[in-house]
């Protein structure tokens, strides 16, 4: 593997290159069986991106079906409580299906039909991507199979029910850690045998090229809106933008439109879990090493043999031992700073935000909010932090009740 790539230095927004490289990261490490489909997808996506009709249709769906643009909201009481910088929420939780995931699935569902594929498969961790895929497929009448780890099915019963109601088939994955990582393995295996007529709607900025680029592009509507709304509402760009990072799709979509704005600090918040020992967290960019997972070269939580390590997070959506290659690129170029927040802190923040702002954030998003509150305390009152509130917490109520010793 080439080691001549860009490390330290300015991050470019003009990535990936034709081979799918973000600096040294990304590319395609998949079985030959999938290569042709990935090449086709790359070509068709480039055509779609340049096609005004495709964009018009997507934007119309985002407006009328998803409910975009969603607001940039001033969290006034939270700001007062922290007594420092002003905290704003980008309200992805107000999208149809309750999270940012639908931005990508609507785009990829349109791509599926454009390519003439007749069936959709997807993986899901927290269930938000599964629900968003099932929803898009229901909207367009596409048969849909969602792979979900058994452990996540237990943690996210509500979303399983919603997917099935939308007509999707949810297939439990019983291999390995029975979480997102294994769900991706199973979806890839399905795709190996169904690639001729099936599109794999990958839900994060991970996997082989062109997925990290496609998902980032479809999710960039978050950052574009947030950027415009900042200029309108506060008359300038924010001082810092914060988002949680599992595979990294909401954060990639939030950060990407700000990459060239040198004055805007970008912070990705990973799952700190229970501690900093291997297996206790899912902080890939803090503790990981460079490696290959799920078809892409990026940072990975792996042992000295290259075996993927088990990870832990209270939040099913962040419980992933890899991360999108563009995040690895942003990490190594220093463009984005990556930190982590522990389980308990995230859990406390869900309850605090509910009581203070009347908003129930997803456990994933509450990692980002928890960090933003810490940062706000260190910053001046005339400074602004925008947090991506990537999803709502309805899906987590069973888990939050269980963890706080309450009956539902």
């Amino acid at each position: 593997m080439s080691s001549t790539a860009v490390t330290a230095g300015k991050a470019s927004s003009n990535v990936p290159d034709a081979a799918g490289r973000f600096g040294e990261f990304g590319r395609r490490f998949v079985p030959e069986t999938l290569m042709h489909a990935l090449e086709e997808l790359t070509v068709e996506y480039a055509r779609a991106k340049a096609d005004p009709e495709f964009n018009r249709r997507l934007n119309e769906l985002l407006r009328t079906f998803v409910g975009r643009p969603n607001p940039l909201y001033f969290a006034e009481r939270l700001t007062e409580m922290c007594g420092g910088a002003q905290i704003y929420f980008k309200r992805e939780d107000l999208n149809h299906t309750g999270a940012h995931k639908i931005n990508n699935t609507m785009g990829q569902a349109l791509l599926t039909m454009r390519m003439g594929k007749k069936r959709v498969i997807a993986e899901t961790g927290a269930g938000q991507h599964g629900v968003a895929t099932a929803t898009a497929c229901a909207r367009f009448g596409l048969p849909c199979v969602v792979y979900m780890g058994e452990e996540d099915i237990r943690r996210q019963k509500l979303n399983v029910f919603i997917m099935r109601t939308m007509g999707a088939e949810v297939r439990p994955v019983t291999s390995g850690s029975r979480t997102l990582r294994d769900a991706i393995n199973e979806a890839m295996r399905d795709w190996m045998s169904s690639v001729e007529d099936t599109h794999y709607i990958l839900g994060s900025v991970v996997g082989p090229h062109p997925f990290p680029m496609i998902v980032r592009d479809f999710q960039s509507v978050i950052g574009r809106e947030a950027r415009e709304q900042s200029l309108e509402t506060i008359g300038r760009l924010p001082d810092e933008v914060v988002a949680c990072v599992g595979g990294g799709s909401n954060s990639a979509g939030m950060f990407y439109p700000f990459v060239d704005d040198a004055g805007v600090e970008l912070t990705g918040v990973e799952a700190g879990g229970r501690g900093d020992k291997p297996g206790e967290h899912a902080s890939t960019l803090t503790y990981g090493t460079k490696g290959v997972l799920h078809g892409s070269y990026s940072y990975v939580l792996q042992d000295p043999d290259g075996q993927t390590m088990d990870v832990h997070s209270i939040s099913a959506g962040l419980d992933y031992p890899g991360v999108g290659p563009e995040h690895s690129y942003w990490r190594d170029t220093g463009r984005v700073n990556y930190v982590n927040i522990r389980d308990q802190h995230a859990l406390d923040t869900v309850q605090l935000v509910a009581r203070t702002e009347g908003i129930l954030p997803a456990l994933e998003s509450s990692h980002a909010i928890a960090y933003a509150m810490d940062r706000a305390r260190q910053r001046k009152p005339n400074e602004v932090i925008v947090v991506c509130l990537s999803g709502r917490g309805d899906k987590d109520v069973n888990e939050v009740a269980r963890l706080t010793g309450q009956d539902l």
């Binding site: 593997m1 080439s2 081979a19 590319r27 395609r28 490490f29 998949v30 079985p31 030959e32 069986t33 999938l34 290569m35 042709h36 489909a37 291999s175 390995g176 990582r181 393995n185 890839m188 295996r189 190996m192 045998s193 690639v195 001729e196 090493t289 460079k290 490696g291 290959v292 997972l293 799920h294 078809g295 070269y297 990975v300 792996q302 000295p304 043999d305 290259g306 075996q307 993927t308």
Partner: protein
């Protein structure tokens, strides 16, 4: 036609693996593939996945494989080829891994998640240590792409019989014959067919079309009970050898 069985290294342990390598060698194997257990094998079906999980569950570490293979490779004439994920190679270090593979007596590497496009530099490295990097061609590979992949290929060509993961299947895909005929026009290297083969009849059907039959899951399946019932070793070995002889016979009469 060559008979090319596949074994998982370290399932249930490396002592059994090396014993089976010798047994397969005397049962008529013309080349043996050694699977390096990996935690996330996307190209593998349930049988090989479970086998990898068992080996890793028994705390197998990659360097131990090289030690065990180094000892057995000297005793047999059958070439050994490593089937290993690029995730493992990259983590060990490309140069270090290839050096270890060469020193322990491997004749080549199959890296199922390193497609032709990404393989250039690595191929040069592998070649410089006197090993072959085996290229894979799938039923979904268009002819212009396979021509490109085969330009720098060496050893043999791994022809994937079906679009899908490893594991036994009924019959053979009808398009396989066309694919093999096309590949013949693109390379003079031997064509070995794998994925889905388990029965002597399937091997016989490859007569005149292919030069090698790769059998993986149907071999590995025999190892399942050894993790829970090590006392069955001799039974398992004799069943596995008997099975291997039946495939070897089908392959060797199919010239």
């Amino acid at each position: 036609m060559a008979f090319m069985p596949f074994l998982t290294a370290g399932d249930p342990n490396l002592a059994v693996t090396t014993r089976l390598i010798e047994e397969l060698s005397s049962a008529g194997a013309d080349l043996i593939e050694i699977g390096f257990p990996y935690s996330d094998p996307i190209a593998d079906g349930p049988v090989i996945q479970s086998s990898y999980t068992r080996a890793l569950g028994a705390r197998l570490h990659i360097p131990e494989i090289f030690v065990a293979i180094g000892a057995v490779a000297k005793k047999i004439r059958t070439p050994l080829v490593a089937m290993v994920s690029y995730a493992i190679i990259f983590r060990i270090g490309n140069e270090a891994f290839v050096k270890l593979a060469a020193e322990s007596g491997f004749a080549g590497l199959i890296v199922p998640d390193l497609p032709g496009d990404e393989a250039d530099e690595f191929q040069t490295l592998v070649g410089s240590h006197g090993l072959d990097l085996i290229q894979l061609v799938a039923p979904t590979t268009p002819a212009d792409r396979s021509a490109r992949i085969l330009k720098n290929a060496s050893g043999f060509v791994y022809c994937i019989a079906v679009a899908g993961t490893t594991g036994a299947r009924e019959g053979l895909a009808p398009q396989l014959a066309d694919m093999l005929k096309t590949l013949r026009t693109q390379t003079t290297l031997p064509l070995a067919v794998g994925f889905g083969l388990s029965r002597p009849e399937q091997v016989e059907q490859l007569r005149g079309l292919a030069d090698g039959a790769i059998v993986g899951s149907a071999i590995v399946r025999h190892l399942e009970e050894l993790s829970t019932n090590p006392g069955k070793l001799e039974d398992v070995v004799s069943r596995l050898v008997q099975y291997a002889r039946s495939i070897a016979a089908a392959a060797h009469t199919s010239r």
